[in-house]
Amino acid sequence: MRDKYKRIPVPVRYLINAVLCALFLVIVQSLISGGAISRYQSGILAQIGVYIIMAVSLNIATGYLGQLPLGHAGFMSIGGYSCAIFMMRLSDKLGVETADLLVPGLIFGGCVAALFGLIIGIPALRLKGDYLAIVTLGFAEIIRVFMLNIDSLLGFKFTGGAGGLTGIPRYSNFLNVFITVILVCFFIHTMMKSRHGRAILAIRDNEIAAEASGVNVSYYKTLAFVISAFFAGIGGGLHAGNIGVMDPTKFGFMESIEILVMVVLGGMGSMLGSISAATVITIVNQALTSLSEYRMVIYALLLIVVMMFRPKGLFGTYDFSLNHVMERLLNRDFPKRMNRGAKK
């Protein structure tokens, strides 16, 4: 029976997904240039993209690795500052448009964030649970205070101190943010399906068993943490280009919590969950601005209601796979469990 099950070959699967992504980008981009989507809305779309990157990158450390870091905004801040400073300084030196330096800038921002991820990860990942949470929380605070005060220490304008880094060219737009989103999601997806990803999942499920089976626990923990920081840095770089100002006070404790809420709400370990929660929370935040004071109450209620009815988050560990759906259609195989969601 199983032998007759028709499969879609791997290259075709990727092709279908790539075509769908391209179609999405083309449609939305033409709506933007056609004026059907206003600049306010396209700005929100870019912000959604940035938070999708932040949520899926935190999901590596939280959902896949099973740790609880509370300093994700710190990596976002490092990535944003280094990407923006790198691009501004280099475009002055080379005399090229800042937007042309986006790719090296984002990679630079990501690498600096990853470097800090490595520095903090090696000692911090020896700790577990709430201890790790406190260490990463402290780290993010150090970053914030560092960005605030480094100028007076150096004696020249570097991060802009309390006034923030201003005059950043606004190089992010819907198109480049969402191309990055797709690339980041693709990378994380393939990584999690590889040997390295399996090792990370094994550590989450049972650290002792994983170590006994020959998984190098400390190596993979650090790897997952560094990759998480790398993508957070890229998210920060795009954030800087979307707003044009890096304000150190933004990247405090609450920002880290906000990103964590997206991951938990969507379902830890589910990329689809992180993506939809980042989208929904950003939109809800915007939709509720007209309610001013009541916004926080409704926002909190929303979280409580979701956690009451879906304690594992909206999607649990379920991840949508277009391929599975298509293969089922191809084989006229409609089992009931399709509706139930969680597969694993």
Binding site: G43, G163, R170, N242, I243, G244, R295, L302
Partner: protein
Amino acid sequence: MKKLFALLLAVTMALAITACSSSGGSEDSIKIGLLAPLTGEVAQYGLSVSSGAELYIKEINEAGGINGKTIEVIKYDEQGDATEAVNNYYRLVDDGVVGIIGDVTSAPTVAVAQASVEDNMPMVTASATDPSVISYGSNFFQACLNEPYQGTTMASFAANELGVTSAATIYNTGDDYSIGCNDAFVEQCGELGVQVLAQEGYADGDVDFNAQLTSIIASGAQAIFCPNYYQDDGMIVTQARTLGFTGYILGVDGWTNTHEYTDPENLYDCYFCTSFAIIDDEKINEFAEAYRAENDKDPGNFEALGYDAAMVLINGIKAAEDAGLEAGSDEYKQAVIDGIANGVVEGVTGEISYDGTGAPTKSIMIVSLDSGSPEFYMNY
């Protein structure tokens, strides 16, 4: 049952959202935007500025509006966050406003200033004292005096009027307003030959300043320059006097409500520069009375600047309306900007005009707190 409950909650929420987001505007109104932090950590400044601005708009509408058209204010909360400020700026543009009052604190204002250049949107900030906010385009105006001007003024006042030869400073290292004033003060002191014996920083949220003040007192400075907001200033004055400091304590326009945060007997030899204080003056009394009638409390510096920012913007819009241009067109925006740049308004914080930049030319006064409450000392 659980599902039903969840559904019910979802429906209520959806209704609440749609009910609140609908807002109608008539043909005969001019829409202006108001961008301020109404919730969050800096909400107090945003609420003050918006209450001042709304008071002026109300008065204008009661007096018949501009050429018979009423003014409709669309107010968005940016929570003191640069991201939200930029989002809400674009939202105001979508709503079709012809000018914006805002933003309030410096970092979000800079973000909005950068974004607004592309649209040439007329903007007047009531309180962003950072000199860089007007550097991006000619469409941006300040109603307040910027940090360098205030710091420089106090240094000259200390040297020339009080005869101070040595000073020390205590400032908030987490606040660009505080840093900006401090830097200007120290620089001007250098020019005037006043020795700056100590520059002590503290972190945002600190309440104990004894360590900094002790070292300042040990340095033997004759005056302490304290360019911070009034809550901190009140504590600094109290603690400095308790430690036995008897010299001058000098401040900037963030000091407006300091007298409510310390005992009157501590306030001898305290001076600050500001463009507004409740002193005995006809225009100010009139404004203060109107404000009290609306809000049940005394107006401060932020309220007055909000009122004046609205006045500056409306003055520009008047010019564009008089020219009979179509609202929202590029010519209209330029006419508003030109109207502001060339106009002179009699604000409650003094006569405001612009000489080619977005920074106002207006008088600054020194206020003395000797009697325990603000009293006009001199124009400087």
